[in-house]
Symmetry: C2
Subunit: 334 residues, 2 copies
Amino acid sequence: MKKVTMDDVARHSNVSKSTVSQYLNKRYDYMGVDTKRRIESAINELGYRPNFVARSLKQKRTSTIGVIIANILHSFSTKIVRAIEDVCNENDFHVIICNADDDPAKERKYINMLRSKQVDGIIVFPTGGNMELYQSMVSEKFPLIFVDRMLDELTVDTVLLDNQEAAYIAVEHFLNLGHTRIGVITSSLIHKITPRVERIEGYKKALSENGVPIKDEYIKGLKVEDMKQGLREMFTSDEPPTAILACNDLSLIEVLNYVKENGLSIPDELALIGIDDDPFANIFSPPLTTVSQPVFEMGKKAAELLLEKIKNAEREGIVQIYRFPPSLIVRRST
Amino acid sequence: MKKVTMDDVARHSNVSKSTVSQYLNKRYDYMGVDTKRRIESAINELGYRPNFVARSLKQKRTSTIGVIIANILHSFSTKIVRAIEDVCNENDFHVIICNADDDPAKERKYINMLRSKQVDGIIVFPTGGNMELYQSMVSEKFPLIFVDRMLDELTVDTVLLDNQEAAYIAVEHFLNLGHTRIGVITSSLIHKITPRVERIEGYKKALSENGVPIKDEYIKGLKVEDMKQGLREMFTSDEPPTAILACNDLSLIEVLNYVKENGLSIPDELALIGIDDDPFANIFSPPLTTVSQPVFEMGKKAAELLLEKIKNAEREGIVQIYRFPPSLIVRRST
DNA sequence: CTGAAAGCGCTTACAG
DNA sequence: CTGAAAGCGCTTACAG
């Protein structure tokens, strides 16, 4: 099964490769009608399919982008990827997916491989562990967009949620309902992952603006395996919280497990809000009040920004942080 | 910012491009220690990164595969993708993701684009709507693997669940608990999507083998928007089912909604089993009995089969159907 | 309106 | 042990 190339098409239609190439690139300006027809039928007869690798080599672009996410098993990543893929498809771009699993070494390997493959740009949920590498891409003006996390020492266009606001509106809702003993739980804070840190900030801000004292016992930033214990501490204290904000899916599940195991009733004994509007929130009993992010819009924006950068590689854009507004979806857990 | 090429490295280290290439491909056999060192330091100094596009053109392989799934928002697809990506990463392959959304036109476009990009192989959840195209890939011996769905007119290696068994063990469990009025609901059957059809077959087989008559009123293959109505019909009949098997996530959610709206209690008034062990099944109240598939193993197998095929392009392998065993996870909804 | 030629950045027989 | 040369399949300025 010999591969058919442009040369075969040229021979078959008695023109030169140049002309075939013009045809393929729809530069018909000066092309004879007959030539056009001959090429067309040769292509069909031979079942010719252009080789994009050869074209890419010559044109120095691949119409392919890379996306490095934390983990595609997280519903947030999945939705972002889907939105990116849709935008890329409309623009005849392809997307290569990589799971860095929050591991800087894996992230570095992927970035290097993607660049070796000559992708035209990269969208990354940065681990934060490869500052020099990010920096070098910035200096080279390689098209790069960050999603979900901000690295403030770096000037990279970034798309993320207004995390502070997300926690703020949740806590405000609790306060309006009369709660003052409000707990918050999220994943480990030691790596200063943007959304976690900012959500805690928003939580504190809402409390202090409303004159409610901040108690450290109510604030838990823990690894998943320690959450159960953390919750126990919080709930067995003298003044257990009457409301709790779960800052992401993982901690929400831990809270729900704790609630079930200890037979607490929602919302009577404990009011609950989760950030990240997972599908199951709505079919849970009772349906859960959540703060949702406009995930598809965020993914779309990231893709559009990247494609824009790729088109205007040279243009000296102003680096921007794109904050998306969260929204409170009140259901029956508050 | 001029890109540094192999030529630059060669000049910088006073050797020819050939030698640099040998170095990069670790063919050190006859290479002088000093030469090696010079090349090495030139690469580091210049920050040289090989261009895989050029290499691919010459070598006629890209170390990239394409994966065409129905929709990455489905948790089954996501897990398969993740498993594939892991296997590929270990083998230094990249994966391009495409969502065909069960649309044969989209599928066709993607297959053609992927082949133009010279991917080394494709894994696809076939829509079933492009038989000639699949057939032509088979004839060309282009590495191809099907996942989740079987097209029996075609000889393509396929990885899928033993769907019949999945429904069978669920129904058997119901029967053992004394149920005889057992309903089943799944998505539309008109396109003869393998898992749907086979699960209904398994359902029927379990009933007839146990001497329970099959009633068409208990069998619903419907589009999502019609499911609510279908459930109403089933439950308002003279002899409403006391147990129901939801063949996929979508129908499970519809059943749960119906249950909630009509205040049915699970499992007392209705026993329920879902196929596809979605994470929420376990935190639902009550936790749901499900039939789970070994999704990661399936994705892993698909990737391994494809890579194997790519390595031994010429070997005339026997086409196989790989069936994976489901398992019943008994929780509290039965 | 169309073609000859150079070149994209590699790899790979082959020669020495 | 290393290099000169050809070639992978395209595109693109340029000539005519």
